[in-house]
Each structure stands twice: as C-alpha cells, then as structure tokens.
Amino acid sequence: MFAYLVKRVLSGIVVLFLVSLSIFLLFWFGPSEPAQSICDRETSNRCTPERLEVFRETLGFNNPWYQEYGTFIDGVFTGREIKFSKNTKVYDCEAPCLGISYRTKQDVFDEMKTRMPATLSVALGGATLYLLLGIPIGVAAAKRRGTLADKALVSSFLAISSIPYYLFALLAWLFVTINLQVPVISDTGYFPITDNPGKWASGMLLAWIALGIFGCTQYTRYSRGSMVEVLSEDYIRTAKAKGLPNRTVIYKHGLRSALVPVVTIFGIDFGTLLAGTIFTERIFDIEGIGLWGLEAVYQKDLPVVSATALFGAAILITSNLIVDVIYSVLDPRVRLS
C-alpha cells in the first residue's frame, strides 16, 4: 500500500510538471502578446512598441522559451527576483515562487495561500453536505423503489438538477438574503475559521446549502441507481437467504458495493465542483481562488491564471488519489491484484 502511494504521488508530480509546461507553452506561443497586458497597465494604456520591447526584455520574453521555463521551475524550488521594467522595483519572490501578480504586485503563492482556505471551505463543506445528504436519501429511495415516495423524490430531484447551477445558486441567494432577509446567514463571505468559527460557518452556510442541495440531487440519483442495481445482485439474495436482518443486508452487504461507483463519480466530479465554486464564490461573495482566477483571466494577469490552473490540477490529482485509496479499501480485489 505504501509503495503504491509513493508511486502515485510521484506520478502526480510528473503530471503537475506536464501541466505547468503546457500552460507555459500556451501563453508563450499563444495568439496574444504576453507582455502586452503588463505594458498597458504600467504605462496607463500608452504602450508603444518601444516600451513593449523593454518589458519583453526585462520579463525575459526575448529569451528562448525553454530557458524561461527553466527560470520558472528554478524559481519554484529556490525562489527568484522579478523585475517588470528596467527602473521599477525588484520584487523578491521566495520559493516556492509562482510569480508576482501583474495587477496587485503580490507574491502569487502567498495570495493563493491566503485564499485557499476559503475555496476549500466552500468545496469540502459543500461536498460533505451533499454526500451526507445524497447517499442516505439515495439508499432510502432504493429500499422503497417503485413506491410513490420514491417516484416523487426522483422526479423532483430530476427537476432541480435540470436547472443550471449558477441560476440555482443565484435564486437561492436572492431568496434567502433579499426576500426573506434571514439574519446572520445572509451576511455571506469568508471569515477565517481561526478567528471566529461561528462567523466562518454562518458566512459559508448559504453557499454550502446551495452546493449541498444541488449536489445532493445528483448524488441521490447516483446512489439510488447504484443501490438498486446492487440490491438485485445474487449476493444480496444470498445474504437474505442466510436470514440476516434487513439492516445488515442493506448496509453491510449492499452499501459497500453501491458506494464503489459513487466514489468513482465523485472523483471525476470534484473537478466540476471546483469549477462550480467560481459561481459560488461570485454569488456569495467569498474571496476564494475561483474568484481570483476569474478576475485574473479578465485582467490578463498571467502568473495568477497559471497558478490557479496548477492549483486545479493539483486538486484533481489529489482527489483522484484519495478516490483510488477509498476504492481499494472498499474492494479487496483492487487491493490484491
């Protein structure tokens, strides 16, 4: 198991490298002039070709790409100094250096660090909520398959999940904060958990509920479908024929098998969940990485864009690893083969 983990972590690092390389190449050879945005910004939109050339030179865009990529990677491990133009300030970017934001002139990694808790709070909180709601509801529906309650549940959840998520979240926000004006939780936003856990939770609550309800409708369907299938398996019939109580049959024999596909979907889905946090952060006014990356895209803030993309990749790789570990815990055949 340990050797397997090491192997997976190593291959994850390789993948991260490849991702960083492809993002780098995309910007380098992409259609837009990479130095243009910083030139515009620094010269208050009076960027002349000469001035642009100065920026290109100091930012290293005149060097071969592999040399610059080397500098970037070197910076990740040892840190580096960054200058935007000949006579501007030298920014000291400490390792791990992902660059300095064109816009805010902040160290990108530092900013990511301060924003990460907000994003993880949204994503993990939402995911926890929808798994904790979705799976039990799905299992309960599967047990009562074909009854009126089951049918009503399935169709109402189908209706909810056919609404686009951003619309759903926006409506939830409007309804709770504008229509009902529910106190406390209407004040959404991220407040560090270390400062005031209560405030943290109340600020997040609405975002969680929106994500949770929306995800729950999907995970209810997944786990219901998976459970229905498992309940028709031969080994469930065997468990019943042994005289086991219904509880044991459903939870010990059924649920464990039914979770396998759900976990798989969750692993794939976690990426989408992160994409979803962009809307969530936007609507609920949470200063997280999604919002940050979105603004960076608008502002052509290249270091930030590439850092958020790397962050996304890292999260995907980690969640895949976790899913595989859970998988092998659930299914001994995976462990042993």
Binding site: Y235, A239, A241, G243, L330, P332
Partner: protein, 350 residues
C-alpha cells in the same frame, strides 16, 4: 411426525409488470420428506427458481403476489412475518445458488461470510466460535487447508471451491431442508461429479431433505427420489424418480428425455428436438400450455388440448405418478413411438 417436512399446496406466484401479469408459478403442489431428495426439472423460465424462492419467502411482497400454502413442519410460511421468516432462513431452510461467484459477496472473506451465517442464528456464539465453525465446515466440504483458505476472498477460490463454500454456508446451521438451485450448472463435469457426491454424502450425514433444481435429467436421475417436471409454471408430471425415468407419461417429459443425447445413444440418428419455442408467461397458451409444441396432440380427440387444461392426476401407473395430459394411452404411445427413438436397445424384441 407423520407430516412431511415441506408441503407446498396450490402455490401461485404472480408478478404484476407493465406488460401485464406474469404468472410464473400456477397451482403448484409438492412435498418433501426428511432424508429425501426432490428433483425439479424444466426449461428456463418454467418457474423452478421462483417457486423455491417462495419457500424461503424471498420474494418482495411489493412485486410478487403469492397465494396458496407452504408449510414447513406444519407452520405456514405464506404471509409469515419477516421476523419469523428470518428465523427460518439459513437455519431451518438453506438455499444455495447456481453462480457461486456472483452469490458470494466479492468484498468479504469467505470465512467471514460463513461465520456471519452461523452467528445470525447463534447469537450467543463468539466470533472465535463462529470462525472455528466456518473452518470446520470448509473442511467438511473438502476444501484443502481450510484454516488458511478461510481468510481468502471468493475470487481467490476456483469455481468448484466456491460452490463447496456455498454448500458449507448452506449447511452451517444444520438445516432440515436444503434447496440447491442449479448447484452444478456452471461447473465442469468432473467438478460437478465431486459436488453431487458431496451433496449426497452430506445429505446422508445430516439426514436433511434436499430440493435440487436443474435442467439436466441426468443429474436428477442420479440424485433424486422424486421428480417434479415443470412447464410454464405448472407441474406437468410428478412422481417417484425411477418410475418417471422409465415410464414417463407426459409428452413434454418425453421431449426432454429425447432431446438430449447421452454417451451411448445412436449417433447415426438425428437428434429429436422439441419443436417451437418456450411459451410466454404473459399470455400462456390456452388449454394445455404445451399444446403448440406437442407432436402427440392429434391423438387426443377434438380440440381438447387447446381448450381445456388437463388436471394433474394419476395416469395409469398408480396413485404416486401424476401427469397433466389428456392422452389416455400414453404408456402405449411411449413404448411404441418414443422409446424406439431414444433408446432402441431398451425396446424388447417382439
């Protein structure tokens, strides 16, 4: 103790579906005594599994309509509460299934699954007792090094070993009735022979009653004391095994006997198939359900076969041997027309 262990009377199992009501079993009656083996044969979909699952009350009350009576040691099973049924299942009546790989849970160790079956009916037994019992049963069914194999997962067992483990699980609580639903269909002949031997030995040892379900008449002939032939959810012939194998009275049984070659039959002859296809259970044929495929129905006067369902009653061969067919002289027809085709060497020279 005069009552047989299991008495099934007038059992009907129906499944309402979107296309209509599927009558999987109709008015089925049979009984099994301790120490005896009943063989149930019939083609796919004839209701063999459905009827025996009803004995354990395994059908979902919401999707199956069950009428009639199933009595185990005189106690009615139809309509029994789940709690009481659970006490019966795996304890008084055990069932083993065809595909042992699918029937064992892939995520749990074989020993754990056996121990679980033991502990649910022996709540006072400790985990160690249950494990010891599991090892003992694995040993009993001939699994080598049971103390080590007890911790294997099902996929680490071979096909024959899995079926042995299923049997061990079925017998762990010393049931008085064991229902084996096609226990050897997925296995090779040599392994099938091992498993059948094992079943016979264990039955002798535990003196339990056995119902063996199969579509292989050879297996029935070797194992069973009584035979029940099913067609389209009904019993069409029922009686002592020897009697039915030597003097079958119902054309469907003749078809079954003649449509499979054996290792001594004449190879220059063609095989004699049962024409047509198995009937639909949604709208079974009127009258005798076998009539669209029956080559002997012209020997019955009028259109009796296609209009009137024959009763399951004794033919001409004593009260034990029941058949569901309008033919009155089936013995003679069998001797004259069927036997020469399937076993010319058994036909006496005139």
């Amino acid at each position: 103790m005069d009552d047989p262990l299991l008495v099934v009377e007038d059992l009907t199992v129906q499944f309402p579906t979107e296309d209509g009501v599927v009558t999987a079993v109709s008015n089925l009656s049979y009984q099994v005594e301790l120490g005896k083996t009943l063989g149930i044969v019939g083609e796919s979909g004839s209701g063999k599994s459905v009827s025996s699952m009803a004995v354990l009350g395994l059908h979902d009350a919401r999707s199956a309509r069950i009428t009639g009576s199933i009595r185990v040691r005189g106690t009615e099973v139809v309509g029994m509460s789940e709690a009481k049924l659970r006490k019966l299942r795996g304890n008084e009546i055990a069932m083993i299934f065809q595909d042992a790989l699918a029937a064992l849970h892939p995520f749990y160790r074989v020993g754990g699954q056996l121990a679980e079956a033991y502990r649910v009916h022996h709540p006072s037994a400790s985990k160690r007792d249950a494990r010891r019992k599991a090892i003992e049963m694995l040993d009993r069914v001939g699994i080598p090094k049971p103390d080590r194999r007890v911790d294997d997962f099902p996929h680490q067992f071979s096909g024959g070993m899995r079926q042995r483990a299923m049997i061990a699980m079925g017998l762990i609580n010393d049931p008085s009735l064991l229902i084996a639903d096609e226990p050897t269909t997925a296995l090779d002949v040599t392994v099938q022979a091992q498993i059948l031997d094992l079943l016979q030995d264990l039955q002798r040892e535990f003196n339990s009653a056995v119902i063996i379900i199969t579509h292989d008449l050879g297996v029935i002939a070797e194992m069973a004391d009584d035979v029940l032939v099913m067609y389209a959810g009904r019993a069409v012939e029922y009686g002592p095994c020897k009697e039915i194998m030597v003097h079958p009275e119902m054309p469907y049984t003749w078809g079954l006997l003649s449509s499979v070659p054996d290792v001594t039959s004449d190879t220059s002859a063609r095989m004699i198939p049962i024409p047509g296809n198995p009937p639909s259970l949604l709208s079974p044929p009127t009258g005798c359900a076998f009539h669209p495929r029956c080559v002997h129905r012209d020997k019955v006067p009028g259109d009796l076969c296609s209009t009137t369902l024959p009763e399951l009653i004794p033919g001409g061969r004593g009260p034990q041997h029941l058949k569901r067919c309008h033919l009155s002289n089936s013995d003679a027809i069998y001797e004259a027309e069927v036997l020469p085709e399937i076993a010319p060497d058994l036909v006496e020279e005139p």
